[in-house]
Amino acid sequence: MDLFIFFSEILGRKVIDQDNVCIGTLSDIGMNLGKDVYPKSTYLVVKRGFWGKRFAQVSWDKVKELNKVIKISGDISEIQYQKQRPVYELTLCLDVLDQQVVDMDDQKVVRVNDVSFLKVDNYLYMAHVDVGTRGLVRRLGWSQTIDGMVKAFFPKSEYLTKEDFIPWKNTQVLTLGRTKNVLRLNIAKQKLSQIPSAELAEIMEDLDIFEKYSLFKSLESSVQLKVFSDLSTPEQEEIVDQMSDQEAGKLLENIPSDDAVDLLLNLPKEKISTLMRVMGTKKSKKLRELLDFERDSAGGLMTTEYLFLPKNALVKDAMKKIQDNVESSANIYHIYIIDDQHKLLGTTSLRNFINEDSWTPILDTCYPKKVFVRTDDGMEEIALLLEKYKFSVVPVLDEQDILKGVITIDDVLEELISIAWGKYKEKL
């Protein structure tokens, strides 16, 4: 007996009860996701009749034999037929077979032609999805004919040996359309949460906008934020375009403000003001301010998310501040000390105070020299400054020395790379 079995081979097989009375044919399999890597078959869906189709669900525990026919324990009288087709956590024909899935390894979208199961004690475990031509031919029921023909004419053909399988654990079912279907979201969330956000963003690059959006929507909101920040600005725009204003506003509220500004700059004025309206007032005020700065000046590059403390704070306050902000997307290794008017007094970093006594005033741990840039400083000045002091982050002050925000090295790098890339392209 084979260890592996194809869905197309058992689909449509006769199902009989203990007295060999025909119950119907196998029309679908319901699976439980559970904690295992491979989902396990939990229900048979049996179909009877052609015009007045009736469906019945049978627990997989009753399966006694799984061969040319499927034999179950119990009697036909125990089976209840209904008009409605049953739906499960994972219903193979509805959710997997013939649907599009994302192949996480090769990062492309493919269509499932067949499913291959691992068969253990009459239970089926979903091991692979088949996306190759052989699967297609098998589904059409032409395996023997085509195999025979290929063998006769091209005995060395790749077709005979090459299987296009994707392991189920590397497969992501795309949530269909916009109106369907909450169940799939759960599958998606579990599996997607294990993939680093930068990789998810890369996968999304290769999808078209609908696929992109449905994949995006199936992410948990915290993962959504991370992935969104990793997307390129045009892609972010596409996503925001598909969202309702409420959703978009909420998203903008939660991503770092420099990313939000980049995105907003590319939107039509009208859309900006609608989005501002649905956002919280605090955030929208901040964004409005940032929007007024030149794009590649310090003011345009900076983010307004940073940690700060009043001048009389102690080292223990600083530690607490960092602990409270572990979850945030901001740079948490630097803390800025400000006076009552929000003027910058000094900068300190975790490295400076981690070994200090918790009652030491935080001002004592600051860097001796105040390094900063002004809001209207250009990109080059910022880049040179960061390089000179080997800083990864620098505060931005306005004319009155008031702290407006900070620039992190990755914001500068991003701009520089796009400039360098442009120059490189010109050369070509």
Binding site: D98, Q99, Q100, K108, V110, R111, V112, N113, V131, L136, R139, L140, L176, G177, R178, T179, K180, N181, D208, I209, F210, Y213, S214, E238, D241, Q242, E270
Partner: protein, 422 residues
């Protein structure tokens, strides 16, 4: 500047600008529908039956609107092409058979388009061994080297050239009172020839490939649900424009050829026969229109066919991919053009028969596709709140049943009395 801003912010202007951005798929699809075969059919209708068939364009317009709107709605609501939806909901077997029939039928259609290119330029004494390979090369490079946006712009420009038929309609100097009388209060006769022509007009106006093309191109444009009303305007606009062009073709031929009692066999005959009756310009406009229509359709058809077959079979597709990434797609696309254009160059190739078979093929395929569409669009789990409502459902089922009956009639006609047919 402030003034310009103010105008831009007017609701009407804003809506119009949005519409311009979204416009394209509907108008292009409907216009491609007036392809070489379509123009031939309308010319014949005008030349042999005068104005008496004009009335049929009104119900055709309504049917076009109803069917195309469903495609557009499915595209926006599901974000998937028609072939995708059929595969996902009806399984691989049905899809496979549908796809190979579609491939054959569309290949015949592509042949007809290249034949149209050859015929239209032969009127100007340009040899087809020169024009057809050039046209094939042009079509191939246009799509493979172009981006969606530039291709769409070229297509929209091609739509503009259909105006030539409106001009030829006016140049032919028809009796407008008669034209309107026949449109609104037609004198319908029901002899065999008339019925065959009537069915032919309907068959050529609503073709299976259109549904696939329209839905995919709306999906490709990434149009969101909020923009749906603009899509609908685009689709309805296109569905009205195309029959208007057809109207003027019929009028041009009726006012000249029918009056003079000339019988013709093809659109090329019509163009040539126009010269002594309506002047040189009428001929030039008419044949240029035919050229434009043929090459336009020859660009759209192979692409749309390759796309939807790859969609249905789950192969990679897209003009922005490399050959190794999507070998099936580029293979199909290139083969369709190469065979379609190559066949036209074979001496004594029975082109009229090809055109006729392509019509029959369209007719056989259409009922299946329309029924699939109706099942899909009423699927709540797929369409959500975008399913048909009851009134619309009754209307669409009626439309679909009438179209199916008529196309079956056409298939019947063409099988049992092929001589009556073109």
């Amino acid at each position: 500047m402030q003034f310009v801003e103010k105008i831009k912010n007017l609701k009407f202007v804003r809506n119009f600008l949005l519409f311009l951005a979204i416009m394209g798929p509907g108008i292009i699809t409907s216009n491609v529908d007036n392809d070489a075969g379509g123009i031939a059919t309308y010319s014949l209708a005008g030349a042999h039956f005068g104005y008496t068939l004009l009335w049929s364009l009104i119900p055709i317009t309504l049917a076009l609107i109803v069917i195309q709107e469903m495609c557009a709605r499915m595209a926006v609501a599901t974000g998937k092409g028609l072939a995708d939806l059929i595969r996902e909901n009806f399984g691989v077997k049905i899809t496979f058979h549908l796809m190979w029939i579609l491939l054959v039928v569309n290949l015949l259609n592509v042949m007809a388009e290249f034949a149209g290119v050859a015929a239209s330029l032969e009127i100007f004494n340009i040899n087809k061994f020169f024009t057809v390979p050039l046209a094939a090369l042009f079509v191939w490079t246009l799509v493979v080297k172009g981006t969606y946006k530039t291709v769409e712009k070229i297509f929209l420009t091609a739509c503009l050239f259909y105006v030539t038929y409106i001009f030829s309609g006016f140049i032919a100097k028809p009796e407008w009172t008669e034209v309107f009388r026949q449109t609104i209060r037609p004198e319908i006769t029901f002899d065999l020839k008339y019925s065959v022509m009537l069915v032919g007009i309907i068959g050529t106006t609503i073709a299976p490939w259109m549904q696939f093309y329209l839905q995919s191109s709306i999906v490709d444009k990434g149009i969101s649900i909020e923009q749906y009303k603009h899509v609908r305007m685009d689709v309805v606009g296109g569905s009205i424009l195309a029959p208007i062009v057809a109207f003027f073709i019929v009028v041009a031929c009726a006012a000249t050829l029918f009056k003079a009692g000339i019988t013709i066999e093809s659109a090329k005959d019509a163009a040539v026969a126009l010269e002594p009756l309506a002047g040189k310009y009428a001929k030039i406009l008419f044949s240029f229109g035919l050229f434009n229509a043929s090459i336009f359709a020859a660009s759209v058809l192979p692409l749309s066919t390759a796309y939807c077959i790859c969609e249905g079979m789950g192969w990679n597709a897209g003009v922005d991919k490399r050959f190794e990434e999507a070998p099936e797609f580029f293979g199909l696309y290139t083969a369709l053009i190469a065979i379609g254009a190559g066949v036209v160059l074979i001496p004594n190739f029975p082109l009229l028969k090809i055109m006729y078979f392509s019509q029959v093929g369209n007719g056989i395929l259409l009922p299946f596709i329309l029924i699939f569409m109706l099942i899909l669009i009423n699927d709540k789990s797929l369409m959500g709140e975008f399913t048909n409502n009851r009134v619309l459902n009754i209307f669409t089922w009626l439309t679909v049943i009438v179209i199916i009956a008529l196309t079956l009639l056409m298939v019947g006609f063409s099988v049992f009395c092929p001589n009556q047919f073109i």
